[in-house]
Symmetry: C2
Subunit: 381 residues, 2 copies
């Protein structure tokens, strides 16, 4: 059976990228590989919209979050951590592991934090010198408005750390223009690669903080990675094949263009959301990210039965809820290497699987609803 990943990571890998990575491996201390690194450097600066170096780490996105904490914060940096899901909580867990004092700003799962809430929290905690945010909270599907939030953080002269792991390559992200101090992402999301690489873009102010940190680090040290970056090399043996794939994936992104890429994800997400509404199903997040459509499962619609039907019969792999959301939501992701056709296919399978498990469906209505949204804009090239 043909299977398709509608999951928020890993996402589908373009065939040409997979084959690039299957080519005979090259050594990493060669002019040939330096060219790959150079190409990745430029592509990542474009992706993050920054003039500063974007570090490439061999680890998962969590490793880059940890690298950010231990490289940019210090034992005395009072940090505000916005927690609206599993990944917001992760910032707090990493701070706790290293003894970085933090104040949580908790919003209910599914909600986004507003600029007003953040400002209030910063006024109430005037000692805060850093704020940890999540652009797309993958566990709930909620989008946080990083542009507005970063402006609040910068006004109070604190460092703004952003987990853009599922946001980057899907939603607008302008590191330099928006005043973001650290933005991190992983390879297996909008970058369309297998997992194993993570990336971090830092502002000049963040680089100054790197010089002052008193937290211990070695493998994930941003200082060590920066030093190697300057010489177009890496501090440790990197995931060579994933980096050759990255160079290729970044070429695809540059060729599409960031504005078009963001627009494509916007259109695909709107189409899927419209289809879900047509099916009579509620969306879980109040302000949904374009990364995935998160359905709040009504009584009588069993997650396990539905997701198994989708995968076993239609080859459509979706994700469920984690922690407190286990069994309560279905996550249909649409980021990375997908086009309009994949959206129509996904809606079609969703319609049929819902009917299979006894949900009342007027066959074709959701597909038609998605189709009307998709037809508003020309198909992506």
């Amino acid at each position: 059976m043909k299977t398709r990943l509608y999951t928020p990571g890993p996402t589908m890998v373009p065939e040409q990228v997979s084959l690039e990575m299957a080519a005979p491996i090259i050594h990493h201390r060669t002019p040939e590989f330096s060219k790959v690194l150079q190409s990745c450097h430029e592509g990542l600066q474009y992706l993050f919209q920054t003039k500063n170096p974007v570090l490439m780490l061999t680890c998962s996105g969590t490793g880059a979050m940890e690298g950010a904490v231990v490289s940019v914060l210090s034992r005395s940096t009072l940090t505000l951590v916005v927690r609206g899901g599993k990944f917001g909580e992760r910032w707090g867990e990493i701070c706790a592991a290293y003894g970085v004092p933090f104040v949580p700003l908790d919003v209910p799962w599914g909600e986004s934090v507003t600029a007003e809430q953040l400002e209030e929290a910063l006024v109430a905690n005037p000692g805060v010198r850093a704020v940890c945010l999540t652009q797309s909270e993958t566990s709930t599907g909620a989008l946080n408005d990083i542009k507005a939030l970063a402006a609040v953080v910068k006004k109070r002269n604190a460092l703004c750390l952003v987990d853009s792991i599922t946001g980057c390559g899907v939603h607008e992200l302008r590191v330099d223009e928006w005043g973001i101090d650290v933005a991190v992402t992983g390879s297996q999301k909008g970058l369309m690669l297998p997992p194993g690489l993570a990336f971090a873009a830092l502002s000049d102010e963040a680089w100054e903080a790197v010089k002052r940190t008193d937290l211990p680090s070695y493998y994930l040290s941003f200082a060590k990675h920066r030093k190697s970056w300057e010489k177009t090399t890496t501090p440790w043996t990197p995931a060579i094949t994933l980096l050759t794939g990255l160079a290729r994936a970044l070429e695809m992104i540059r060729s599409e263009g960031l504005e078009k890429l963001w627009e494509r994800h916007q259109t695909m997400a709107e189409a899927m959301r419209q289809a879900v509404r047509t099916l009579g199903l509620p969306l879980f997040p109040r302000v949904p990210a374009n990364v995935q459509t998160v359905i709040a499962l009504p009584d009588g619609l069993d997650y396990s039965r539905l997701s198994k039907q989708l995968f076993n019969v239609y080859g459509m792999k979706t994700a469920g809820g984690q922690d407190q959301l286990t069994g309560k939501i279905l996550r249909v992701a649409h980021l990375g290497y997908l086009d309009d056709g994949d959206i129509v296919a996904g809606v079609s399978f969703l319609e049929r699987a819902l009917a299979d498990v006894g949900w009342k469906v007027n066959s074709g209505e959701a597909v038609a609803a998605a189709q009307r949204v998709l037809s508003r804009t020309p198909a992506a090239q």
Copy 2:
């Protein structure tokens, strides 16, 4: 041009493993992927000769070394670090980064540490509770006799940490039988995979130490990895494609059998060493590991010219010296996915490149010398 890697990492990846990794990516929270993990668990226990879990981390070998230090040692663990090259020094750098107090036992680069030297150092430093060793010191080509050294460490009731990054899958390694407390390796060496994964096997005593550590960690935490291992999952999104490749590579190793694998590397190394001696070139390490043949370049034999001739004309990629050995040695590695034919080819290219750069060579003598060694045992199946 056909190129061949005679480098101590990355090493050549078998075509069937590359193609396995190029297959459509699967999600990591599925029964399908659990089977991959289960197969890796079993294969790694065989490779390390241990009944305990072998952790799989998404990072380079250095990340696993750091994971070992921060998970198994503590701020008060006085540690003896044997330093006979760049990688022995790395143990010390990691200890220093986390404030683990350590006593260095320095041996000249190219030398191996003896059981007597180690015993003496432990007698002189009775407070030592852990010892960091390097099986195959990749920067010099020296082999350390881990079986004998671990026995000395265990007699003094200290923890024995072994960097087996280039040793594992080449030299005999028996974690349980030899009383090793932590052994680590990376994917891009004897395991024939691209870089991006690292592994760690721990003794029961080491697992007890994990419970007591007061050092901070998160992404590389062995405690977190162990907890997930028990559930046949991973704490973070792992390098999925590399793990599917690992399952395949471990199958190849199990099918060859460890004893035959060690013997193959022994034969290949002896053949290359004999060829090098025939060429009138001295070996650098006193006790050479079977990982690579490290040539001490005599006056008049320029590293840069020779290595470029080897690569540009014959497609033979070798490695040079690092740090104090820059320009002084040529490293011809022969580990992983190589057979007798690759050794003969390598010797042939080495002969010809040497002649090209003006070294006096009796054409065919070195190839014949290698051939005589290889012919003593049947070709590997």
